[in-house]
């Protein structure tokens, strides 16, 4: 076996100088052999530790590829998230339709002429039945919400497992400029959205804060933080 060293490269240069005008296929094969032998000897000079580390990195990359596969990213992105979006859209539409029906009934009853009790009673019965029917949306939306929750759990389990296996640390900051802008707007304009039960302040607390206008209101507000 030819061993690669300075002499080999000098031979290679000489060979190329001599054969510049008439290189054959055999010559190319010969060149490839010399080059490969040179590289092999180059790699042999690598420290065994570096080689082991490279193997570990290769193993880690293989394992990461397997874990990404387990995440089922494509299925989540192409199937589960769009399906959950459709379910949420259907929920919004169903609640909107039900609300409209109920409000139409209420408005019709408020505007109804009650001078004829029989006709008025018939109208009330009809509208009440429509309200009952409209309220049935809750059963279906409950089932739709269950499907969305299932999707969120599916994603949570996989992402949680992936983060655990990869020992991932949370990225600090924002992924995109628009994400940063949205967060800044929310903070600047106090956009928190609805609070859950037990969080936020109730109407009676709000009333106290608003009413104590000129009587040390800041002190009262401060009490709310203590």
């Amino acid at each position: 076996m030819v061993t690669g060293n300075t002499k080999v490269f000098e031979d290679l240069v000489d060979f190329l100088k001599q054969k510049r005008e008439n290189v054959t296929f055999i010559d190319i094969i010969r060149l490839a052999e010399i080059a490969a032998s040179s590289l092999q000897s180059f790699f042999e000079t690598f420290d065994a530790t570096v080689y082991r580390e490279l193997r570990e990195i290769a193993g880690y990359i293989d394992s990461m590829r397997d874990q990404i596969g387990v995440l089922q990213v494509n299925e989540i992105k192409n199937s589960r998230i769009p399906a959950a979006g459709q379910e949420l859209g259907a929920i919004v539409k169903a609640t909107e339709n039900a609300t409209n029906t109920i409000m139409n009934c209420a408005e019709a009853l408020m505007a109804a002429d009650a001078s004829d009790p029989v006709a008025y009673k018939a109208l009330v019965d009809e509208k009440m039945m429509m309200i009952f029917e409209a309220c049935s949306f809750q059963d279906i939306t409950g089932q739709r919400i269950a499907k969305v929750v299932e999707t969120l759990q599916h994603i949570e389990e996989r992402v949680g497992r992936f983060a655990n296996v990869m020992k991932a640390k949370d990225f600090e900051g924002f992924l995109t400029d628009s994400e940063r802008d949205r967060a800044a707007r929310k903070e600047r304009l106090f956009l928190h959205g609805p609070s859950l039960d037990g969080q936020g302040v109730d109407q009676s607390t709000v009333d106290k804060m608003i009413e104590n206008d000129d009587k040390g209101s800041q002190a009262n507000i401060d009490k709310l933080f203590s």
Partner: protein, 127 residues
Amino acid sequence: MAVDLSMPVLVVDDYNTMIRIIRNLLKQIGFQDIDDAADGSAALGKMRDKRYGLVISDWNMEPMTGYELLKEVRGDPGLAKTPFIMVTAESKTENVIAAKKAGVNNYIVKPFNAQTLQSKIEAVFAD
């Protein structure tokens, strides 16, 4: 109720259902001249075209929020004295404080009922 029921009222909310609910409640109270707008900037445009006796606004809207609308109204000498009630699901203490500092006349937390709306309107005009 010492409130002039003939005064025009502007309801600002990005949800048509909520506008409809507030409009019906106001009608029940006795108000007849009720307009609506879907966000702060649309409301501001209407307020500059017509003099409203009361504004009832949501907080969380786009592009202009009710909070920004309130500050714009209080900063405009022609509109600054318009009574302004915030009706919102934003119920953090800092929201109430910010609204109060910006000059809100009253603050209603959603969900609310007709009695709450009426009592807050009365409180605003009793001052």
